[in-house]
């Protein structure tokens, strides 16, 4: 016996709306079983993972702080993924953006222009780094999945070298970290006493601008057409080469902006680890949000919640941190399966006739 997916002739709007909800419930049930199998109470885990962060104002701010880089990067990636280009090196573009921006912070001593210039350099760094795989693809036909991924390791090693070598704080007791940025090189907070920095505003702006670009502009249609029917895109006069360069520059630029915002607004200095894998998790976020800007905004909050919940679960319930990643994976699988089942039907086929 085998089974195959056949497209449904009509797709019910109700099913489409309910699909994500059902996907979430299913993901929580699966995760609950896993927690139960590990000998802990699923109820307590739900309490720690979901309810506590959502009912605690401090944790809510933390949620925004964690969601910010995820949303920024995932929004950028949605440009690539819509046009069917596979940039999976956002983590590297994030690091290079952070490095280039921080370079200015380390070289200057005050000035109102420093922070804006750092942001521009961050965007530039990420965009240029993103353009490397794009260039290799358009010029030599090299697969962008491999190059963008490999460049992540290059970027991480470069960061490691800089904070252990030339950029290390001489008074830092030999810790591999740079000096703390001075106030002119620190991204301001949205409000005094809060933890939320301006990066969150950038993310919101990116969401709104992207919603307009993808839905209302010819450039947005260009990406959709390139992704859905590349030959028709060429017929429409959209050069594949320019599209490739543009989407990699945009997604790299937004990843770079996320990097410099995180370092200057949240961490305050360079250190070997400036990301818990935001660049990779953002791929999940982009698809959880179905490549839709608003969807990505919601998905980034949900995934940020799993990060925070995972940390407290580690402390309170002694659950391993890896469970967080497992849960993110389960969630993505459930959402994608739900989408597939809304538009397709499973048919079981037994050999030799009959259904």
């Amino acid at each position: 016996m085998r089974f195959e997916l056949t497209p449904r002739p009509t797709i019910s709007p109700v099913a489409r709306a309910l699909a994500p909800v059902l996907a979430f419930v299913t993901a929580f049930l699966i995760a609950g079983v896993v927690v139960w199998l590990m000998g802990r109470s699923p109820i307590a885990a739900f309490q720690v993972y979901v309810l506590q962060p959502l009912s605690d104002p401090w944790a809510l701010q933390e949620l925004l702080v964690k969601a910010t880089p995820l949303a920024l990067i995932a929004i950028g990636l949605s440009y690539c993924f819509r046009a069917n280009f596979w940039n999976i090196g956002a983590e590297g573009q994030y690091v290079i953006g952070a490095l280039l921006g921080s370079w200015l912070a380390l070289k200057t001593h005050g000035g109102f222009w420093v922070m804006p210039a750092m942001l521009v350099l961050g965007i530039l760094g990420g965009a240029l780094y993103g353009l490397i795989p794009a260039f290799l693809k358009t010029r030599f036909g090299v697969n962008e999945i491999l190059t963008s991924l490999m460049l992540v390791y290059v970027a991480q090693l470069l960061l490691d070298y800089l904070v252990r070598g030339p950029w290390r704080d001489p008074k830092g007791f030999n810790f591999p970290q740079s000096v703390t940025f001075d106030p002119a090189a620190t991204l301001p907070l949205v409000a005094d006493g809060s933890r939320v920095h301006y990066g969150t505003i950038f993310a919101l702006v990116a969401v709104i601008v992207t919603a307009i670009v993808l839905g209302r502009t010819l450039f947005g249609y260009r990406l959709k057409l390139t992704g859905d029917a590349p030959r028709a895109a060429r017929f429409a006069g959209f050069s594949a080469k320019h599209t490739t360069l543009a989407v990699f520059a945009i997604s790299g630029g937004l990843a770079g902006l996320a990097g410099i915002s995180e370092v200057s607004g949240q961490i305050g200095q360079l250190q070997p680890s400036i990301s818990p894998g935001y660049g990779f998790t953002a791929i999940t976020v982009a698809f959880l949000g179905r490549l839709n800007p608003i969807g990505i905004l919601v998905a980034s909050l949900v995934v940020a919640l799993t990060f925070i919940g995972g940390e407290s679960a580690q402390i309170l319930l002694k659950l391993p941190l890896d469970l967080t990643q497992a849960f993110q994976g389960i969630l993505l699988l459930c959402v994608l399966s739900a989408d597939a089942l809304v538009s397709h039907r499973i048919r079981f086929i037994t050999r030799g006739g009959g259904k």
């Binding site: 056949t6 002739p9 010819l218 057409l225 028709a232 060429r234 017929f235 006739g353």
Partner: protein, 514 residues
Amino acid sequence: MADVSPSGSPLVELKGISKRYGDLLANDGINLAIQPGEIHALLGENGAGKSTLVKILYGVIEPSAGQILWEGRPVSLSSPVEARALGLGMVFQHFSLFDELTVAENIAVALTDDWDLATVRSKLGDISRAYGLALEPDRAVWTLSAGERQRIEIVRCLLQNPRLLILDEPTSVLTPQEAEHLFVTLDKLSADGCAILYISHKLEEVRRLCRSATILRGGRVVASIDPRERSARDIAALMVGNEIGEVRTGTPHVPKGAMLTVSKLSMPAGGLHGQALEDINLVANAGEIVGIAGIAGNGQSELFAALSGERLADKADAVVIAGKTCGTIDIDNRRRLGAAFVPEERLGHAAAPTHRLSENTLISHAATEVSRSGFILLNAARRLATAIIKAFDVRTPNGDPQARKLSGGNLQKFVIGREIIRQPKLLIVDQPTWGVDAGAARLIRQALVDLAGEGSAVVVISQDLDELFEVADRMAVIHQGRLSAVKPVNEWTKEAVGLEMLGIAQTQGAVHAV
């Protein structure tokens, strides 16, 4: 293959087959019976539900209601594998062959495991001899013509001893000579007891081949006839529910100066199996239709790409549109000069299958009013789509459907309408009525003739000689990337064109004959 069913019951009988897509009934209670050895035609205008019906019969899609009886026994076919096991074979309009593999390999991969290459070879020889389907087992598929490729598909079906062979528009890719050859084969098969279900829009060949025909309109059977007793005109009228007129030429076209000039255009082959263009010279004047005949794969798509600007020439003056040299400018800028293009492949090239018709108007955005300073004017796009649908009688399942939900012919009307509606000064169209029913073909040809009548230049690349003789003012033949001399249509005969298409012409006019 020769066992005629003893009881005299039909080989296959469809009872009350219905298929619903949302609000639309693509098939509505269809009854159809096919006797062993019968060649049965399935006719109907575009969107009548022919493809839907044969896909149900072949197990590709599931009917919403109805029953299939095979030799009187109800069967349920949920996949082509089951259909083949029962004795059905189908040749789809689009071939499914691997270009790099040989003929024998292509046949072997499609068969079940108990066939090895040696058996395939020996059987292939038998079948080829029996039915006059000459094939060299060791030739790579990419070296073969469309007719030869189709033979592979047919032989592949025949090796499994089918009792019923379904052919969906088999002759649309063939030359007249190749088509004639196919008919001889089908006659032989039928004499051996194999039934054939034959879909075609070419009524003359249906009259030549079939003894019975079922006509569908709007998903229902409207008539079952003997096509030999009716004229092609009568049958066409049954299909659309009213008479189809001839294309009106009106006043003879008066050429008024060159709108397109192609000189010494050469271009290397695009891909591994592409055809290089060599020294193409061609002029299309405002107010005339220039036809380009030729067997598929002789450089038509390359010529189209070179004229549209999807591929650029290395010399700017190789292509001149409306007085401007544009061999090296892209398709959008050629559109802005007043040129319009309709490629051969409607799904995926002319239109994006999963996009709505309104979105598909954006594809020729460079020359239409559907965007302003980079922003899409959604309402304008919708209005344009509606206008095209109305002007070109496009039958859609709902107001603004996805392109893939239209039947082949209706989508063709849409993509041609999208270009003609803006009255281009130059229109280049590749296979304008490919797979289009008689009524729609007339509508499209009329639109082309009218466009030229209003002073535009039209270049029609087509394999359909009748079509070219009907609409073109002047005509040339493309063979292996070279274009023959362009001569007025009344100086060509069908025989001369046929010979030129095969590259064996020796007339003085055709300097480039190989």
